[in-house]
Structure formats: structure tokens, C-alpha cells
């Protein structure tokens, strides 16, 4: 088997499914039961794809460090934009 590593992001939950961003513009709907217990929206998942001739195995683990890095970066970009918000009404 050969292993490949991916980072998936839990975008949101819709009922019994999690909407997971596998790549830009690519999302998967996964049953919650296939994700680690305690998975939350925004979590980064470290996914190991082990592909063989007759089977593919997925190992999915929460990646707290990657989650923290992405959250920090998201807050930074949004924070920069909010600082540039001119306030007042929108005049078209």
C-alpha cells in the first residue's frame, strides 16, 4: 500500500452529515459517525489515504495544531479587513 496525506476541514454539520472541505471547491458529505468523536466545525482533519490494489483505507484524525494555525490565520485576515471597514452607511 502507498500512503498519501491530506488535510480536510470540517465546514459545518447538516443533520447527520458533516460537510468537509477536501480541497478548494471540493466538499464531501460524510456521516458524522465516520469522524472522530468530538469533531467540531472548523476542525482540521489529518487524513491518511492508504491505497492498495483491492482496498483503500482512510485514517482520520483531528489535528489540533493545524486547526489552531488556520484559526489564527483566519482571524488575522478578517481582523485586517475589519480595520479597513470605513464604517457609516453604504452609499452606492
Amino acid at each position: 500500500m502507498t500512503d498519501r496525506h491530506e488535510v480536510w476541514i470540517v465546514d459545518r454539520f447538516e443533520g447527520e452529515y458533516a460537510v468537509v472541505e477536501r480541497a478548494l471547491h471540493e466538499t464531501l458529505n460524510l456521516p458524522r459517525a465516520l469522524l472522530p468523536a468530538g469533531t467540531r466545525e472548523g476542525d482540521a482533519l489529518r487524513v491518511t489515504v492508504s491505497a492498495g490494489d483491492d482496498e483503500v483505507r482512510l485514517a482520520i484524525a483531528r489535528d489540533a495544531q493545524e486547526t489552531k494555525l488556520r484559526a489564527t490565520e483566519a482571524r488575522r485576515i478578517l481582523g485586517d479587513l475589519k480595520k479597513r471597514d470605513p464604517g457609516g452607511k453604504i452609499e452606492l
Binding site: D11, A23, N29, D43, A44, E73, I77, K82
Partner: protein, 214 residues
Amino acid sequence: MDAVLRAFPVRFYLDNGRPANTRIQRTVLELVRDGGVTYRDAAALDDSVVALGDAALRVLASPVQGRRANPNDESIALILDRGAFRALLTGDSERRELGALLREARIPDVDVLKAPHHGSRNGVISSWLKRTRPEVVVISVGAGNSYGLPDEDALAVYGEGGRAVLRTDLDGDIVITVDSRGCYEVRAGRTGGEVRAHGGPAACAVPPTQETRP
């Protein structure tokens, strides 16, 4: 959203100010930042009005806040007014946000309601329809979507009393034309559109698309 930002000149970008860890949000925000688009936080614009000629767009920020809130319940709602016409557009709002908006008593009687959350069961509550009393409900939903939307129970609620319910998966593009009096007609269809609903104040004898222009 990133395709919109790449395809059209955009002056203002409005969102709910909630950060997300996804690639798509990062891509969108970088396009806003690097494209000279003015970012606006809906919280700072709550209840303010954007003038669109003689139409007005009122912004309603979500009353639901907090790190543990369901992101759908932090959707921005918009109320569009022209003449006597009024439409209410909610995003992915679910019951918690809808209930909170109702308690704030800022939700009016409308002509057209865009169904919250693509016609999901968790996007409809009877008190919402009692307050909004729409003549027409429009559901924006992808054909063959994997979520099973719109929900059958929600459809039954929206269609009570013979109310017109239009959905983009079956009806195609839905275009609402409103004149300065507030007379409106709703067209749907992939081939130019047929009139599926119309209404407005008593003076609306002539459909808006036949209005004589000076």
C-alpha cells in the same frame, strides 16, 4: 463567491464577521483584500439602509452570536422595499435565528419570501410565516442536491392556502420584476420565463413588464 468576485467589479463585500478555517473563506477574503473591495461588517450596519435608486435594502444582522453558535444562525437577512413591494431574504438561517428575529419584532409582512436555508425543515417555523405572510415563497436549491432539499414538510408549510411556491431546481431561474408603485410579477423558467405570480397595491392593473415608460 470567489467566482463572483473574479467575474464582476465589486465595490462592497458584506459578511457576518465570523472567521472560518476553510480554504474557500480564506480565498474569498484574500480576493476582497487584494481586489480593492471595501469590506463591511454586518454587525456595524445592522438596521441600516442601502439606497438602490428608489428601492431600499435594509440589513438585519443576526441576533444570534457566540463562538458556539451554529454558523447558519449567524446569517445576514435583507429586506428589499420598492413602493408597496417588500421582499425578505434570509440566508441559511435556522429556527434559532428566525425565532430571535421574531422576538426582536423587526420582521414585517412581505410579498415575497426567500425560504431560509434552501427549504430545509429547520428553516421553517409556523410563527415565521404568520408574521411574514408572503404571497410567494421562492426556494433557491440545487437540482439533485445531496441534502434532500427542499424538505417535504417544509414544502407543505410553505404551500398552505395555495400560496405560490417556486423552486430553482424545478422552475429554473426566478425573476421578480417590481415597478415604482410596488406592482410585481414573478417569472420562472429556463426559456425566458412565464408569469407565475403577480400582485401589489390595488392600482396594479397593468403588469410591471407592460408599464408604459416615458
